[in-house]
Structure formats: C-alpha cells, structure tokens
Symmetry: C2
C-alpha cells in the first residue's frame, strides 16, 4: 500500500496536522520538525493523495478539454499548448474528442463533472447550449478557445477572425484577383472570417457572388468537393480562400485533379497555419494563430475568476508561402 499521512506522522513522531502543514507549506512549523518530516516523507516515498485532498474541498488540479478531434493537427496544437500551460501550473488535462457529436459532448461533460474537474476548456462548439448553461449554473469554470458562442456571456480567447478573413482576402486582392471564392465550415469563427472577406471585397467595390460561397465540413474531402464545384463553374474563381488548412489542402487536390496549376490557375489561401501548410505542394499560404499564447491565456483566464466572461483577442498573421502566387 501507498504510505499515508498517518504513516509519515507516526514514523516522524509528529501529528498528521504537522505533516499536512509541511506538505502544504502552511503555518508555523519548526525548522527542525520540518526537516524531520521532509526526510521521513522521502524515506517512505510518500506522495499526498490528490483524491483525499480533493474530497476536503481542495482542487483536483485537473481540467477537461473538449475538442472535435485530437487527431486533427490544429486541435492537437491547441491541446498541446493547453497541456503545456497546465503542466507548468501543476494541472492535468483530460482530452475529450467529441467529433462534434452532441451525444459525446454530453457524455464527456457529465464524466468531467463526476470527476470534479476544476474547469473545462472548450475548443469545440457546443451543440446543446443547455449543457453549457448547466455548467455555468454548477459554477464550473468554463472558457472557450478559438471559438465563441456569442449568445452567452463566456470567457473566450480567439483571434480576430474578422481580421483574419480580411487580410487573407486583401492579400488575394493585392495579387490582382477579383474572382475570389470562399469555402467555410459551420462555426462562429468562420462567420467572422466570411464577414472579413466580404468587407475586403466591398472596399474594392467587388460584389460577393452567391456561387462563390460554399459552406461545408472541415475535412480534406469536403474541400476537394467544394473546390471541384467552384472550379467547374462557367466563370470559375481565380482564387479560393479556404477557411482552414484542411479545406485548403482539399482545394489543392481538386486543382491537381483538374490539371490546374496552383497558384497560376487558382491561388489558394488557407487558415490556421498548421504543420500541414508546410507539406503541401505548393506550400500553403495561410493565416496563423498564435496558438501557444492562446493556450496559455485561456488556461489563465479559466483559473482566474476575475477574468470570467472577458474576451481576449489575438491578432492573426498572414504567412505567405507559394500557393497564393509569387
């Protein structure tokens, strides 16, 4: 059996309160006693049980992270940034890949509650707002990253998605493109990106065309399918802004399928600047999010009740590679 605080106390000839005090650096403990206890702890290889201490009202030092899919590189990056900050702070993170399925969200959430996590970070949308409201009602700290649900006041960390869409489109515009299509997924962030795209077009007095706008899922296949549809239009776009890298990769594949050259026949800009954008041929121009900073920030906001329901916005950056032209 693992040694308990009693074992240490007995062996060191002190009370459990004293042991507890040295473990937690609490209160007044004589230096000699402290040393003795410390030594005994080491000798017995004692490590305090988080389970027991949590039962007395202390934190569990673990948080839950809901993401659509940990095997999606963008979300893996987010997970990593949050994990890193957690590790610095002595927190563990439980991953919950929901596949954007309401049922899984529900199940994961209830498990996290039963485990008394200290907070929950949502990197995925939430289909069932009632679930979210229940969390808030239960006073479980919640924070969102790369994601927002404007209908509820929530702690969030995002980039300025509007600006992201705007600079992506401006970039294409600066390359003399006027027929710019956009492929997006169904998410709040993407709506902002679309708005940014439209704003950029508007500033150049270019009308945004219905047929240049496709909404789909965030997968390579969907990107290919959407791009195929766009590129087979009577008047196909000369540039496509894909609202995430997976879609952009799909676009590049579609172009290859049609024997079209990227960027000369179609320019492509992605979003998120994942590792994938360095691997495509041609390399993908993309909008980057400062994920490390965002992960750190969201963790800190989650834990600091002063910051509840505040929104912090990071700035996206255009990373020019080869897919958008020379």
């Amino acid at each position: 059996m693992r040694p308990t605080i009693y074992d240490v106390a007995k062996e060191a000839g002190v009370s459990i309160a004293t042991v507890s005090n040295v473990v937690n650096n609490n209160g007044r403990v004589g230096e000699k006693t402290r040393q003795k206890v410390l030594k005994t702890m080491k000798k017995l290889d004692y490590s305090p049980s988080v389970v027991a201490s949590a039962l007395t009202g202390k934190k569990t030092k673990t948080i839950g992270l809901l993401i659509p899919d940990i095997s999606n590189p963008f979300f893996a990056d987010i997970a990593r940034s949050i994990e890193d900050r957690g590790n610095e702070l002595g927190f563990s993170v439980i991953i919950c890949s929901t596949d954007n399925l309401e049922e899984k969200e529900k199940k994961y959430l209830s498990v996290l509650i039963r485990k008394s996590v200290d907070g929950i970070i949502l990197a995925s949308g939430v289909r069932n707002l009632t679930l979210l409201e229940e969390l808030i009602e239960k006073k479980i700290p919640v924070a969102l990253i790369a994601n927002d649900i404007p209908s509820i006041p929530l702690t969030t960390v995002t980039i300025d998605d509007f600006k992201g869409g705007y600079i992506a489109t401006k970039h294409l515009l600066s390359l003399q493109h006027t027929n710019i299509a956009i492929i997006a997924e169904h998410a709040w962030s993407n709506i902002q990106r679309i708005n940014g795209y439209q704003q950029a077009l508007m500033e150049e007095n270019i009308e945004s065309r219905e047929e240049y706008f496709i909404k789909t899922e965030a997968t390579i296949e969907s990107g290919t399918k959407a791009a195929l549809q766009l590129l087979r239009l009577e008047e196909p776009p000369s540039a496509i802004f894909a609202c995430n890298d997976l879609l952009a990769i799909g676009v590049i594949e579609a172009a290859r399928e049609l024997g079209l050259d990227v960027p000369n026949d179609v320019a492509v800009v992605g979003f998120d600047n994942t590792i994938l954008s360095r691997l495509t041929v041609p390399k993908l121009t993309s909008i980057s999010q400062p994920i490390q900073d965002m992960g750190k920030k969201v963790f800190d906001m989650l834990l600091d009740s002063e910051l509840t329901n505040q929104k912090t916005l990071f700035m996206p950056e255009l990373v020019i590679r080869d897919s958008s032209g020379k």
Copy 2:
C-alpha cells in the same frame, strides 16, 4: 453545492446505503425503493462523486498516457484510439507530452501517481528505467504501445517491426533497387525495423553499407539533413527507407532541394502511414500500423491483470502510393 448522497437519501426517505446500492446496482433493493431513489436522483440532478468513491478504494476511472508529443500526428492517432476505447469503458485519459525529456517523464509520472490513476500507458520510451520499475513496484498497471523495453517484462502492444522493415525493403528490392539506404531514430522499434531491412538485403545477397545507415531524431528537419548527406554521397542510394513518415517527408524535401525526382531519382518509403503520407507530393508509400486495434487492445490489456506482461503483435501492412515508383 452539488447534491450528495445524503441529500438524495433524505429526500427519498431512505438511508445512504440504499442510495449507494441503487447507484451501483448492488445488492437487494426493493423495486419500489429503487424507483423512488432513481427519481429523486434525477430530480436533484445527482451524480456521484468519483473523488469520494475513489477514496474508499474504488477506481478513479482515469489513466495516464505518456507520449512524446501530442502534436505529432502519429501519436495523436494513438491518443485518439486510446481515448476512444477509454470512453467506451467509462475511462478518462490524461495526456502527458514528454518531449522525450526525462525530467518531464518524471514529473508527469509523479503527478499521475498522486492522482491515483488506474493505469498508465506508455507510447513514448522511458529514459529512466528506475521510474518504470517504481511504477511496477507500486503495482500500478503499465502497458506499452508501439514501443517496447525488452530488458523488463512488460505488457506491450506493437506491430511486428521487424516484418515492417522487411516488407518495406522487399518492396524497394522488387523495384530493382539495390542501393537502399535507411534512416532511423533511436528507439527499440526502429532497431527491429533496421533488422528487418538487413534481413531483406541479406536474402538478396546485398551487403548493407555503413554509409547508407543514418540514425537521427524523428523530425522532418532531421530527415532532410540525413537525406542530403546520403544523396551527396559519391555513390548515392537510389532508394531510401525512412523509419517514420516525418523522416520520409524530410527525405522528399531534400530530394526537391537537390532537384531530384521522387521516385525516379530516389524512391522513398516511410513508416506509420499517418495522414501526412497522403499529403506529400508524390504521395508517400508507407507501412501502416492498425492503430485503432492497437489502442483498443492496449487498453484492454492494461485493465486485465490476466494479460499482464504479455505481448501482442499486430501485422504491419505495405501501403503503396507514388513515392516508391510505379
């Protein structure tokens, strides 16, 4: 406050023991009482505290997963497969990205112990074997996936890496290559792959040359660097077997840098068949591991003490794409 078992008991007019019994489907509880309790639980939105039940000796229903880096797609896939199985079984998984740093391994391990996890799955090597031995001594279930430490009896799930190396090389051989180089990282699995490579060469009476063998880290950059070195040899290899996809991608980049055509000037075979292998140009021929099955299996073995220290071997498969020839 969250309702406790006492609240339910009082509200339902029964004892906490009875509530406990209905929660756990234990013992003899009258059907009428059971219904009443169930209803009260729902009414109060009661969910049992895992923390409290864990303190009485029950499981925490959470395990730890040590991997080098969750943002590496291969490990993200492994994490996903384990998470999925955990979810089916009602387990949570805590991710621990160690970056292969002994210090981080140590820290994560001690945190997992303090949190009384029910088991630990290692997808990363372990630099400090003492740490591992301590886990075993503490009777914490440990299992390895895609990874082995032959010097200690351990529960493991791997593919037959020897065979993986063998079929990769055989494939290249069948394409008439005789100058086949290999790039590997420092890991037990890679040693096996190298052995398989050598066996295949031997069967064709080809001597394996010292200068065709490079050991390095598993990153794209290292792959590029290694490939550059190989391809600048007086007698450069006509084929390179990279022991993982990241290295293989590096090789492809090196070839491009040198203006060499893949597969005509250099054929390339990778390993792991990650999502990345579909994205390269040309698409990467790779050896696949049945990760979903392996994740499920390792979880089951971890929990089943009957299976302790057994080894299960899955079969690798050659996935032919474009990087190895036509």
